[in-house]
Symmetry: C2
Subunit: 271 residues, 2 copies
């Protein structure tokens, strides 16, 4: 074989994929031991994790466990936020928080503020969630409350992967996901915010068709595709099922994080 080479070439397409939500997880409170709760829910569902299983965890439960609630009532918008808020017609306190969570503004229009999040990806409102976002002990004199994205999804993915691999004696991978809108197309789809244990991008350079021509689309965003699949069973509100098991993909081990999915802005014709 003269093909080979790329680091993520060990992916294999299975013929059957199972996407199964894990029931029984309680509402996650700040300080919760997410790892123990997920492990117990998996066991309580009678599921035995095996080598190659992928656990997909909605970022919202990380945010809640990390206590990433913010009381907008306690936020003092700065000059930049005040100007921007007027321009896009949004709550200046929310805009101040979006600015703090972001590296730069990508696009703005009335009602819309799309930014590059501090973690590097582009999203509306820096991924801040304003639905059902009050902490459990919130005083009625506080708020409105919102929930910001978790601090370091790659690190939490790596921690969950290590702990749950040990608990189930299985080599698993973990994705932390959210769902967002996109340019050009209506509706939200799932994306990978944090990755541990599988190559986020399947680099197929070096793959040839049967006439010996190199395949054109040579990189598959496997982690994002898995996130989109899990989103189909995960639901959306807190009543949703934030942990999903995906079984049936053969992948090589990898220590790459979710930033492998980010296009270099210099190479991005829409940046």
């Amino acid at each position: 074989m003269t093909h080979g080479g790329p680091s993520a070439s060990g992916y294999r397409v299975g013929s059957e994929l199972l996407v199964r939500s894990i029931p029984g997880l309680p509402t996650i409170e700040p300080g919760a031991d997410l790892c123990a709760l997920i492990g117990s829910a998996i066991e309580a569902a009678g599921i035995e994790l095996v080598d190659g299983d992928i656990l997909v965890v909605a970022s919202k439960v990380l945010s809640r466990a990390e206590g990433r609630f913010v009381d907008l009532g306690a936020i003092e918008p700065g000059d930049e936020a005040l100007t921007l808020a007027k321009e896009v017609d949004k709550d200046p306190r929310l805009v101040e928080l979006i600015v703090r969570e972001s590296l730069e503004v990508s696009r703005k229009a009335t009602g819309a503020l799309i930014v590059r999040h501090r973690l590097g990806f582009i999203s509306a409102n820096a991924g801040i969630d304003a639905s059902n976002a009050a902490p459990p002990d919130a005083d009625s004199s506080t708020g409105p409350w919102v929930l910001t994205l978790p601090t370091d999804p790659d690190r939490t993915a790596a921690f969950l992967r290590e702990e749950l691999s040990a608990r189930f004696n299985a080599r698993i991978a973990v994705l932390i996901t959210d769902s967002w809108g996109r340019p050009f197309r209506r509706g939200t789809v799932g994306f990978a915010l944090g990755v541990s244990g599988l190559p986020p991008v399947w680099d197929r350079r070096g793959s040839f068709d049967r006439h010996g021509r190199e395949l054109e689309a040579t990189e598959s965003a496997v982690a994002d595709s898995i996130a989109a699949a899990a989103d189909l069973v995960a639901g959306q509100a807190d009543e949703g099922r934030p942990v999903t098991l995906v079984r049936g993909i053969v992948f090589p081990c990898s220590e790459e994080g979710a930033d492998a999915l980010l296009r270099d802005p210099k190479q991005d014709l829409y940046a």
Copy 2:
């Protein structure tokens, strides 16, 4: 219940999704009866389609069945294509074909030509596939050959849905899909090019969280998420498995096509 209302509110999140590629499909030749071949492959695999099943078909097999092969050697580039080809450093004959398949150029740079396809969506090179694209009877004095996208994916999806629903006596939905790159993010994911029988977008306006706040992300691009999930088992080259069964999503009947997934360019901050 005072929620309800939107046309696509009948979706229900299942707890388990099965994504299974259908084996045994031959290489599709121009003029092939795709419907009969897919039906026979499903039966030969011992699968019985049931109400609510979703069949996902890679657009490439439609293109092949429709004979959408184009011999670049027989193409005479016009002035617009010649100028554009110089600008982006691509084969002027390929650029001529891209222009013919497109409504407008969205972005251009060396090696990259991103257009709005005649079907309305944004994609690189108008989705033209240059790998493994020669028709079976191609003379060695012809070519290079490329394969353009199918003529009317929604219509073919509707035809396959009607015929296969009758054959299996089951109410199914059909998606026609392809995979493309995206702004901001590396790697390709699956998208829906043609839709019949399910609402492409799950309109969740009117859904409330348990504190009575309306959910923020109110539209899920279900058809694109299913396409992304199917892409994980479909492979990519002709050796891939172009038909996938997705089972486990409860959806309301719909006659909407894939254009329901297109964001109005006037509302698109990246247009």
